[in-house]
């Protein structure tokens, strides 16, 4: 009965808006991208490994997409491997490098705020006898470069640091990290030349640097030379492209072990019939994101700053998590004392607002966001966190609507909360 009543209320309420603010979770497919994908789903459906024209057509589309992606990364085509997701790319990077270089060392360095795709891959390797260092971050989510320098040793084969964090949007100084690694490699090479005992047996080309750039695409530069990375992970579902497609850039000087074996697709590094529609969609989305980058970033940055300034004024006992400036232009991560994130998200959903939280209640292991905890955010504030991520369709009117609803919802939840502020 009350359910019906509630639904009616929503229909009657004319001020109700649909405001999607979870673009960091996933995006819709841009119609321009979808348009390019269509024919590959219906008419140009051939298997890219087939010899007849329908197959060659698919092959050509895939290779064109590979060139386009490589161009944006400033890489060569054969350095691009298409995969089934960002997670798969990260898994391939971590496991693939670890397996390929296991005779050179058994040490891996990752940050504590990596995406689970990286963290779980690292944990899996730990079980296989690898040593993993989990780097701390400061209270704003930036990794401590000194800690990285100290962690590097002659057994280190891989360093994986995300470009921009998915929860708090913090941007890591990847070029500086690359510089530290390249200095370390040079020193190793010198030691090797001088015949210093205990030096690395490799010729100073390790460790390999991987970065998860899924959240950075469309916002930050992806030129691998400028960044100084050897491997880079991207996916389609965050850049207004299709889901279930991603790519891994692997510098041609490095070898990598495949995760999925079978046919010789993707240079033997990722078996399975290629999905040309997804691959074309991914590359079109990346091109579009790259083209819109500067203008859209500036627009989002203004909106983000506007919202953060307002909400911190409107709601007492509310804090911004992460670095205020060195963060993705679309990322807002707040914590509210006295309330829990899942209730907040569900109440906002009732007003048409889509958001997410780092609360334990949304996880399966009942621990709150590992990212917020690594920042030193207390557990109760991690439970009370709310992530709003803006995107291409977000307008100031949308944010004004949230600015109207959110303080009310927070107040109502605080009223019924056992924690009195």
């Amino acid at each position: 009965m009350t359910g019906v009543k509630y639904r009616l209320k929503l229909v009657i309420d004319k001020t109700m808006r649909q405001v999607y603010l979870d673009y960091a979770a996933t995006t819709y497919i841009d119609p321009r991208v979808l348009q390019k994908m269509r024919s590959y789903l219906t008419t140009a459906f051939g298997n890219a490994s087939s010899l007849y024209s329908l197959g060659r057509q698919a092959k050509t589309a895939i290779e064109k997409a590979r060139q386009d992606v490589a161009k944006i990364l400033g890489a060569s085509s054969r350095e691009i491997i298409f995969t089934g997701s960002g997670t798969e790319s990260a898994n391939l990077a971590i496991s693939g490098i670890a397996k390929a270089y296991k005779d050179k060392g058994n040490h891996i360095i990752v940050s504590k705020i990596e995406h689970k795709a990286v963290l779980e891959s690292a944990k899996k390797l730990e079980k296989d006898g690898f040593r993993v260092t989990y780097l701390n971050v400061d209270s704003q989510g930036i990794i401590k470069l000194n800690e990285l320098k100290k962690a590097l040793d002659r057994k280190t084969i891989l360093v994986s640091i995300m470009y921009a964090n998915n929860e708090i949007g913090t941007i890591q100084p990847i070029s500086k990290i690359a510089e530290i690694i390249s200095n370390f490699r040079e020193q190793s090479a010198k030691r090797k030349e001088q015949g210093v005992r205990n030096s690395r047996s490799a010729i100073g080309d390790l460790p390999v640097l991987h970065t998860d750039a899924c959240q950075a695409a469309g916002v930050l530069t992806l030129k691998v030379n400028k960044l100084g990375v050897d491997l880079l992970t991207l996916n389609g579902s965050k850049i207004y492209g299709p889901k279930a497609v991603g790519c891994l850039y692997v510098n041609k000087n490095y070898k990598i072990e495949p995760l999925i074996v079978g046919g010789s697709q993707e240079m033997g590094l990722r078996a399975g019939t290629e999905n040309q529609a997804l691959i074309v969609g991914f590359s079109e989305a990346l091109k579009l994101a790259d083209r819109l980058r500067d203008k859209e970033s500036q627009r989002l940055r203004n909106l983000r700053n506007y919202f953060i300034k307002k909400i911190l004024k409107l709601v007492p006992h509310c804090q911004l998590n992460g670095q205020p400036q060195k963060r993705l232009p679309n990322n807002i991560n707040l914590s509210f004392n006295g309330i829990e994130g899942e209730s907040l998200v569900l109440k906002l959903d009732q007003y048409g607002i889509s958001s997410s939280t780092g609360s334990a209640c949304t996880s399966t292991d009942l621990t709150p966001s590992h990212v917020l905890l690594a920042l030193g955010v207390s557990e109760d504030l991690a439970h009370g966190s709310l992530r709003l991520t803006l995107g291409r369709k977000t307008t100031k009117r949308d944010l004004d609507y949230v600015l109207k609803i959110l303080p009310k919802v927070v107040e109502n939840l605080r009223k019924i909360s056992a924690i009195q502020l």
């Binding site: 009350t2 359910g3 509630y6 639904r7 929503l10 649909q18 006295g338 309330i339 829990e340 899942e342 209730s343 569900l346 109440k347 009732q350 048409g352 609360s359 334990a360 209640c361 399966t364 009942l366 709150p368 207390s378 557990e379 109760d380 439970h383 009223k415 019924i416 909360s417 056992a418 924690i419 009195q420």
Partner: protein
């Protein structure tokens, strides 16, 4: 012609706004979450006989619960609460407060013997991960009853 085709595709997608989707929890949980019963917004003017607190903000769930007891019948005649926690925690406390006050109240002994499963059943089920939410409300209730008994100079049940 093209437009018509697009429309057809649209209709195939489940429209969450039309309530076609299944909500995260049962309908009863949803109802109690959005319309919580017996919330005590301000305890300052509330004459309670017993108070109990359970849970911990660090774990993401905390409940405060107040009861009034009919001295003659030894039944809970009123039960108020406030909860910090997820939707199922809020709904579970709300349902618990309904259960101990409906039909003229619940004998204290019976209230002390309430099982989490009974609340879960009344809620139309909870995901397994959320079972502890209903357990917490019970701990707060037990503490409130024991608080009352202590004040009465009676031994704990």
């Amino acid at each position: 012609m093209k437009k018509k085709k697009n429309k057809k595709i649209k209709g195939d997608v489940i429209d969450v706004r039309k309530g076609e989707e299944s909500w995260l929890y049962s309908k009863i949980v949803k109802d109690h979450f959005f319309n919580p019963r017996n919330v005590l917004l301000d305890e300052r003017n509330y004459q309670y006989d017993g108070k109990g607190i359970a849970g911990n903000p660090l774990c993401g769930d905390m409940m405060a619960l107040w009861i009034k007891v009919d001295p003659k019948t030894q039944k809970t005649k009123d039960c108020k609460w406030r909860t910090y926690g997820c939707a199922s925690a809020i709904a579970a406390t709300s349902m618990l407060s309904v259960m101990v006050t409906e039909k003229g109240g619940m004998p204290l002994k019976k209230a002390l013997n309430l099982k989490a499963q009974q609340i879960i059943e009344r809620l139309g089920g909870l995901p397994e991960l959320k079972f502890h939410c209903s357990v917490l409300g019970l701990s707060a209730l037990k503490e409130a009853i024991n608080d009352y008994l202590k004040k009465q100079g009676k031994a704990k049940f």
